[in-house]
Amino acid sequence: MAMNLFDDYDDGGFFDEVFDHEGNVRPHYRSLVKRFAELTPEELARRVRLRDDSFRTQGITFTVYGEEEGLERTFPMDLFPRVIPHDEWTTVRDGLVQRVTALNTFLDDLYVGERAVIADRIVPNWLVTSSSGFRREASGVHVPGNARCLVAGIDLVRDADGTYRVLEDNVRNPSGISYVLENRASMTRVFPSAFADLSVCSVSHYGTMLLDALRNVAPPAAGDDPTVVVLTPGVYNAAYFEHVFLARQMGVELVEGRDLVVDEHVVAMRTTRGLQRVDVIYRRIDDEFLDPVAFRPDSSLGIPGLMAAARGGNVTIANAVGNGVADDKAVYAYVPELIRYYLGEEPILANVDSYLLWDDDQRALVLERLDELVVKPVAESGGYGVCIGPSASDEELDDVRRRVLADPRNYVAQEVVALSRHPTLVDDRFKGRHVDLRPFVLTGERVDVVPGGLTRVALREGSLVVNSSQGGGSKDTWVLSDEVGGGDVEGLD
């Protein structure tokens, strides 16, 4: 039969999201594979054009740092969506809720609690206080409902067995949700018929979910109708498009630091009608730039006196200041223990096996196997500074060895995960490319997960790095709202 797009498809020995090891299509992908197999090359090309037009005219871009000037790029969406069956998703969702609940509790314990986790010797005190994400200035700053990780982006990968594992937690300023929504909007325009066979969970309520969660953390003094704003560093920020997008989705003002003033420990925005009180700030500025009085005095992005206002209970900053200690990649290794300690439950989602490099024994073993392991700086995000042993040159390995020995606290090593692969359109064929998944977890009245999340694809052949800043693409991610009935779609063989 004419299955041109999948001709010569090779799973390369990896776990493939679509095909099992015998080459059979997994049940939840049958209808999609059938639809793609029926496409003529002309029809496929037409849809690629449709997709490109829709992204270009909407100006969906991000900025890549490190080049001479910030480069604006589009984040290419692959036409073949990723599908997650209902029961699989239920497990993932429960695992994410569990993990974020534990992280919220941990952060509350550290900043406004009794630091029981340290007293009980679950996490060493020096590890917490030496984390670059730990902020003494946040001690005593309460967040209503313990919603310190109001928006969390937890990066998941699937290993060679297809088991979901947590690769890293992002509980500072995770970005990417705008792509989730735009990818879905684009798919419904480019491929409306593909939705007909499956019942896909909607993601379009994200703006409402986020606004509800933000209003939920307003200080009691704010009353019934709190004023929420989105705080952006400005147009030159990599994620500015997303800041605009979120402010629009929620129907709130997008402000910069210079639009806000603090007087008598109350935050207000400068409007044409004078000062208007602000109750909740969804900030997309890093901690150290938020308030030049408390943090970097040279920051012109921040608002002098903001931390004092938060401490006074007159404004809530979301995500909370100091969350970086929880997504420190060395603290990450303790999260399964935190779940057991705070919740008395076994972790539903496993970590990737990790090694702590200040420990002499673990470090010695890691340095022997550098070419087999991944080494990451503990406080970076976006894939910056990561060394993937198997694909690193000797010079790179030597460099990593030097850096680890100079500052073992600030690096962590992990086993290489044979990331699962997914057919991805490369030129005119589907090829297997590695993927991960960043679901978005919101802490509102309860902890909730947006169905699916951002599936990122490493577009370069063999590459394991999926970050948008490192040449990655994305896929629309479909969570099925019920079980797939096997009968209504024919098998392919």
């Binding site: 997008l254 639009d259 400068r270 409007t271 044409t272 000062l275 030049p292 012109s300």
Partner: protein
């Protein structure tokens, strides 16, 4: 709306109008002096720089005032904040910072104007066909005005754009009159006043009102006091006054900018042109411009910087460089 957004729209309007009015003044001055010799031309070009308050900046560049030197200073000199290319650049910076609040077509109209000017060989335009260049600038500014008018909802953002636009136009109209009145060869020179009217696109409208005469005081009266011609000073002030009134609401007490503007407009309306044409026009226009600038400052105080903010600025609590981005060369 956010004060910063309002201010950016205000300055977008001002800078676009500045580009257009500068092109109009250059056009009429250049073509009026084509037949003059260098001794006659130099004072005229200096006069133009003087009414634009750019004479000191120009002197710093050194060299004499000629059609070539003044035109390039006022058109393509990026160091000169009052040049057309700078005004368009600043209009673009301002509209860019509110890009998400304005219709996409408006952003595109301003951005493509900026890009097209950058792509042109402006020096060659000035050498060979200044008329074509000035016409292009006028047309693109009018295109932007038209796009704004046809796409923007009549809300606060529109009002700030209009207030900036009309206050700038009122001031530039005063300057045009000033420079033309100073440069007139004889009071009754028909061609001189005809080209003055043409430079404001006012010739035909004037002709309908005054069929036979080309009396200087009629021309001055028309450009100052016409109630129907959209580039007259009075028309601009009335329009700004209306938008200011809509901003503050009909049952609210008058704001300071409204009171100041109401007074300027009334003073102008009750002026008899015959009293000022003669020796006093220049100082009258100077006073009028000063009053219009005070209105603009009052708008800034009322809407862009409230007293709270001024206090903080005075105490130097705000981080360095965090002030409102657009500066206002030439109009302070």
């Amino acid at each position: 709306m956010l004060a910063r957004h309002a201010e950016s729209l205000f300055w977008t309007g001002r800078y676009i109008e500045r580009a257009e009015s500068t092109a109009r003044m250059l056009d009429v001055t250049y073509h009026g002096l084509l037949e003059a010799n260098a001794y006659e031309a130099e004072p005229a070009w200096r006069e133009l720089l003087s009414v634009l308050r750019l004479d000191a900046d120009f002197r710093e560049r050194g060299g004499g005032a000629s059609a070539a030197s003044v035109s390039s200073f006022l058109v393509l000199d990026e160091e000169n904040g009052g040049s057309i290319i700078s005004a368009v650049e600043r209009a673009r910076e301002n509209i860019r910072s509110v890009r998400e609040l304005v219709p996409i077509e408006l952003w595109e109209a301003v951005n493509s104007f900026h890009l097209d000017l950058r792509a042109r060989n402006l020096r060659r335009d000035l050498d060979q066909q200044p008329y074509v260049l000035y016409k292009l600038v006028k047309q693109r500014c009018q295109l932007i005005a038209g796009v704004a008018s046809e796409t923007m909802p009549r809300e606060d953002g529109w009002r700030f754009l209009q207030i900036g636009w009309t206050l700038e136009r009122a001031e530039m109209a005063c300057r045009l009159l000033d420079v033309r009145y100073a440069a007139q060869p004889e009071l009754s020179d028909f061609h001189h006043w005809q080209s003055t009217l043409k430079s404001a696109s006012a010739f035909e409208a004037y002709r309908k009102a005054h069929r036979s005469s080309m009396d200087p005081s009629d021309v001055v009266a028309f450009l100052l006091l016409s109630r129907t011609f959209p580039r007259s000073v009075l028309f601009c002030l009335r329009r700004a006054e209306r938008e200011l009134g809509l901003l503050s609401g009909s049952d609210a007490p008058m704001t300071r900018p409204e009171r100041l503007l109401g007074r300027v407009r009334a003073d102008l309306e009750f002026t008899d042109v015959r009293d000022i044409v003669g020796g006093g026009l220049h100082s009258f226009l100077e006073r009028l411009q000063h009053a219009v600038r005070q209105v603009a400052e009052a708008v800034a105080l009322q809407y862009f910087r409230n007293s709270q903010e001024l206090l903080l600025t005075a105490l130097d609590f705000r981080p360095a460089g965090a002030g409102p981005a657009p500066s206002s060369p030439g109009v302070t």
